[in-house]
């Protein structure tokens, strides 16, 4: 592999590239799905290939190949160079790269149990046991479960001298209970919706989340929701559980702080951002207790790495400090456009055959001082606790959002009251974050993984993380989603 990488860089140099990098990536994956008491799918696979990125005459070019011979690599480099020269014909200004030291490094994501060493029978057995427990609850019409395991080995080499080997182990697990009534369908998911929890970790995360131990409660909640009263429409104080808050952070802070979006580079599809560079250091994004950080170094968090896909070392960068908008997710070719001396290290691609783009790392809300979730509920006179995302949507500048959750509870006089279904809330991003008046303490903090963040053309999905503890927001509009 290393010899092929050196060859690619040499060829790029001979063809006139002013910069080149190559990523050789080998992936192994297992996807397991169960539906009721059956195995609905076992899909296993491998992928191996190389992606080559070059700068010629100030323009970017990218090509990939899965034929790892010298001849095929040469052909791919030439294709990347031809593409870069075509780019150079449509440029206002040539691409400039922020400086970054060259690294010789090896990095392995933390894990204690290799998930690929665990048998398929064990994995399927856990999912089917959870399914059995869910189906034992009268009224459950569909019980589903899934596990995913990915091992990724990535070798990066650049014409500036970096030689970086990284290994990632990613694991996920989740279950879901559906209850369909006369004119209603309700769902509960655990540990989170959309496939469960995802971590940069090994089999130990499956053991930690204990799917069977939560299956019956989950199923009972799904059935109970069918007869629960609906979330009323109005304005109230809302406590978001940490998993829902994770998606709120993802959509209303993570995406708008991507510098390519803020500069209009993604406007055709993913959209732009209200966090334009003129607001940097000036906009009071949230209340004084809101501190949002992009932390690619968080151990076990899904968006962590040693180095990004253009060889920039993982960093911890504040996006919002004491409520003030103060930073971006950036890359080597965007940093200088707002006067940054160095990339924030956020360039990643989903595969060897996709070009790196600016992606979220782990965008997390630092814990506060409100104690436990029980403490926060006790401190709330009249409101609502919302848990587990069900639906999410936000405008293309990331102002107007609306989320629904699978379940909610009334809060009256500091006590959790009756269960509510069809809960939703919405608002305008800066107003919402400025209404945040309490964040639970470190003991409630969880690093949630969002593995399916979509961006780019062609669409790339990416592993991102969001640490959060439950938080309270004052005077939030609720219940509008079902008021048609």
């Amino acid at each position: 592999m290393r010899a092929l990488a050196e060859h690619a860089l040499n060829v790029a140099d001979q063809l006139g590239a002013s910069y080149a990098d190559i990523r050789l990536i080998e992936q192994e994956f297992q996807l397991i799905n169960t539906k009721d008491l059956s195995v609905a799918g076992v899909n296993l696979g491998t992928s191996l290939g190389a992606g080559i990125r070059v700068l010629c005459s100030g323009g970017w070019g990218f090509a990939s190949t899965q034929q790892l011979s010298k001849a095929a690599i040469e052909k791919a480099v030439k294709r990347a160079v031809d593409t870069a020269r075509a780019s150079a014909r449509c440029l206002e200004t040539p691409v400039m790269l922020a400086p970054e030291p060259a690294y010789n490094a090896v990095w392995v994501s933390p894990h204690t149990k290799d998930p690929f060493a665990i048998s398929l029978e064990t994995k399927i057995g856990i999912l089917l046991e959870a399914a059995r427990l869910m189906k034992s609850v009268k009224g459950v019409t569909l019980a589903q479960g899934s596990m995913t395991f990915i091992r990724e080995k990535k070798y990066f080499a650049s014409s500036e001298g970096s030689r970086i080997q990284q290994t990632f182990i990613r694991s996920s697990c989740g279950i879901e209970a559906n209850a369909t009534g006369e004119n209603d369908r309700q769902r509960r998911s655990y540990p989170n919706s959309a496939g469960g929890q995802n971590e940069l970790a090994g089999w130990e995360m499956v053991e930690k989340w204990d799917l069977p131990g939560n299956a019956q409660r989950l199923a009972e909640e799904a059935v109970a929701l069918l007869t629960a009263p609906a979330c009323p429409q109005g304005t109230t104080d809302v406590i978001l559980d940490s998993s829902q808050l994770a998606l709120q952070i993802h959509e209303s802070c993570g995406h708008p702080s991507e510098l390519d979006r803020a500069l209009g580079q993604e406007i055709n599809f993913a959209g732009a951002s209200f966090l334009t560079p003129d607001k940097l250091g000036k906009l009071q994004y949230g209340s004084r207790i809101v501190n949002l950080v992009a932390d690619a170094t968080a151990p076990g968090a899904l968006g962590s790495f040693g180095f990004d896909d253009e060889g920039v070392q993982a960093q911890r960068v504040y996006l919002v400090k004491d409520g003030l908008f103060c930073g971006y997710l950036s890359s080597r070719d965007t940093a200088h456009l707002i006067g940054l001396g160095r990339s924030g290290g956020a360039m990643r691609s989903e595969s060897w055959n996709r070009v790196p783009i600016i992606r979220m790392t782990n965008i997390s809300l630092e814990p506060g001082s409100a104690g436990s979730l029980a403490d926060l509920i006790a401190d709330t006179r009249d409101g609502m606790l919302m848990e587990t995302n069900k639906s999410w949507s936000i405008d293309n500048l990331r102002y107007n959002f609306q989320f629904s959750t699978e379940i909610a509870w009334e809060i009256k006089n500091g006590k959790r009251g009756r269960m509510l279904k069809n809960a939703s809330y919405g608002g305008i991003t800066p107003s919402f974050w400025n209404s945040c008046d309490a964040i639970c303490s470190r003991q409630e903090y969880i690093e949630w993984g969002v593995p399916n963040c979509g961006k780019g053309q062609p669409m790339q999905t990416m592993w991102t993380g969001h640490g959060a503890a439950p938080a309270r927001f004052r005077n939030v509009q609720v219940g509008m989603a079902h008021a048609v």
């Binding site: 059956s38 593409t83 075509a86 070009v355 939703s424 305008i428």
Partner: protein, 451 residues
């Protein structure tokens, strides 16, 4: 790009190796894609990608068990290793009492019907061709004082499927896609097209249309949310209706997830709503065989508002006691089947006529970030973007700030008051389809945003 002969060779190799391992059945899928994408923003090329990928996946049936494995190593050694690994994996699983034998074309009718959707010129377009198209879009925007962004993609893909029961089917297709966003200081306009033939995409017209929308929606007015008559351009229609397609899958009904549960054979939508799934429609793209190699049938899903048929893969067909319709997804999968070639019947009301007959309403170019809120009432939420206009007195009056909508698709399809001609349409929430523009009464806008 792989040829039919090369695909056949990979398929035959995997089947022969599987048979040598004494398995009960071997199914092989070969996919290859060579689609290059040039992206531009702020009047400059930002990304220019020429990726290339081939993958082969094998599904093995062994003693009542099945497993699918995939790889992108298509050498003889790589394919043999894949089969060996699949045998090992399948034997680790429990027996599946509902497992079906592989599809046998001899026992189930004709071999999959081929359609020609390959244009050699489109497949050959190179980075210089794409750059020239993009240059023309940028120049068109600059000439009108606008900032141009977008994408031009071109290339080809192949898909082949074969199995140890004698099936072999091959499909080769070219494709071109262009989308354009023109932006002004406080407004924007958008256009998108996707076609197997690049020459049928008129980038000049797209650039002008997007520019017109950007200029006409400048200084947008903020108006109150509420229930309005809306005129949805085809892309907006498509990106809403895509949230209904899976509700026509048989498995969605056996799982009790469909909004049309117990409504098959009843009238659930307006008289003017007819929807087919038709892989052979001249404006469609894609292959005419499904994930197990069955020939796709033309199915009427909705006829004049009546929910007429569902689509079925082999498993759901068995549950329903009917014939599969050739819409199965690649097995094994919890999904079952999916209609992929939607054709929503149009009418003869032009967009201009819809506008001319509207006293007060909203014209939508595009919807964005649409998500399901209520699976039973089929309420979806989302935003408008890139060309939202107030229509008053039969004329487009001005641009308006964008809205959030919460709307039941079932109610919407009971409130359609006019249909335009059905055209090939590309959106962003799903795959392209053939849909008309629609004029809809009583569409629910819940809130506005700041632009």
């Amino acid at each position: 790009m792989l040829t039919r002969t090369q695909c056949r060779k990979i398929v035959d190799l995997a089947i022969a190796h599987g048979k040598a391992k004494k398995v009960d059945g071997v199914e092989v899928i070969v996919s290859a894609s060579d689609v290059a994408t040039s992206r531009f923003a702020n009047n400059s090329m930002t990304q220019n990608q020429s990726p290339s990928a081939v993958s082969v996946s094998v599904r093995l049936l062994v003693d009542g068990r099945q497993a699918r494995l995939s790889t992108d190593q298509t050498s003889a050694a790589g394919v043999r290793q894949l089969v060996d690994d699949a045998v090992t994996a399948a034997r680790l699983l429990e027996k599946d009492p509902n497992l079906l034998p592989l599809y046998s074309p001899a026992g189930n009718g004709s071999a999959p019907q081929a359609v020609r959707r390959f244009d050699a010129r489109t497949a050959r377009l190179g980075p210089d061709d794409r750059a020239a198209a993009i240059r023309s879009i940028i120049d068109a925007g600059k000439a009108r004082g606008l900032n141009a962004s977008g994408v031009y993609a071109s290339g080809s893909a192949v898909q082949a499927i074969g199995n140890s029961e004698g099936l072999f089917a091959f499909h080769q297709e070219s494709e071109a896609e262009c989308s354009v966003t023109m932006t002004a200081p406080d407004s924007s306009g958008w256009a998108k097209a996707h076609n197997p033939k690049a020459s049928l995409i008129d980038v000049t017209a797209m650039a002008q249309s997007a520019a017109d929308k950007a200029l006409h929606s400048a200084s947008p007015l903020e108006i109150e949310p509420g229930h309005y008559t809306v005129i949805l351009e085809p892309s907006a229609v498509l990106d809403l209706l895509v949230f209904l397609w899976y509700d026509f899958a048989g498995t969605c009904h056996t799982d009790k997830l469909s909004c049309f549960l117990d409504k098959v054979g009843t009238k659930a939508l307006g008289d003017n709503i007819t929807i087919h799934d038709d892989a052979y429609h001249p404006l469609q793209a894609g292959s005419c065989f499904d994930g197990e190699g069955l020939t796709r049938k033309q199915i009427t899903l909705v006829e004049n508002g009546l929910i007429k048929n569902l689509v079925h893969g082999r498993r759901s067909a068995r549950v329903f006691g009917t014939e599969p319709t050739g819409h199965g997804v690649v097995e094994p999968s919890p999904m079952g089947e999916y209609p992929l070639n939607l054709v929503v019947a149009g009418g003869n009301t032009s967009l201009d006529e819809m506008i001319r007959t509207t006293d007060r309403g909203i014209l939508l170019t595009r919807v964005w970030y649409v998500r399901e809120v209520d699976p039973t009432a089929k309420i979806v939420t989302g935003m408008t973007r890139d060309g939202t206009f107030l229509v008053e007195g039969g004329k487009v009056k001005c641009g308006v700030k964008n809205f959030r909508f919460n709307e039941s698709l079932i109610e919407m399809l009971n409130n359609v008051v006019a249909l335009g001609p059905a055209v090939r349409t590309a959106g962003e929430e799903g795959f392209p389809a053939v849909v008309p523009a629609m004029k809809v009464a009583n569409f629910n806008f819940a809130s506005t945003t700041k632009f």
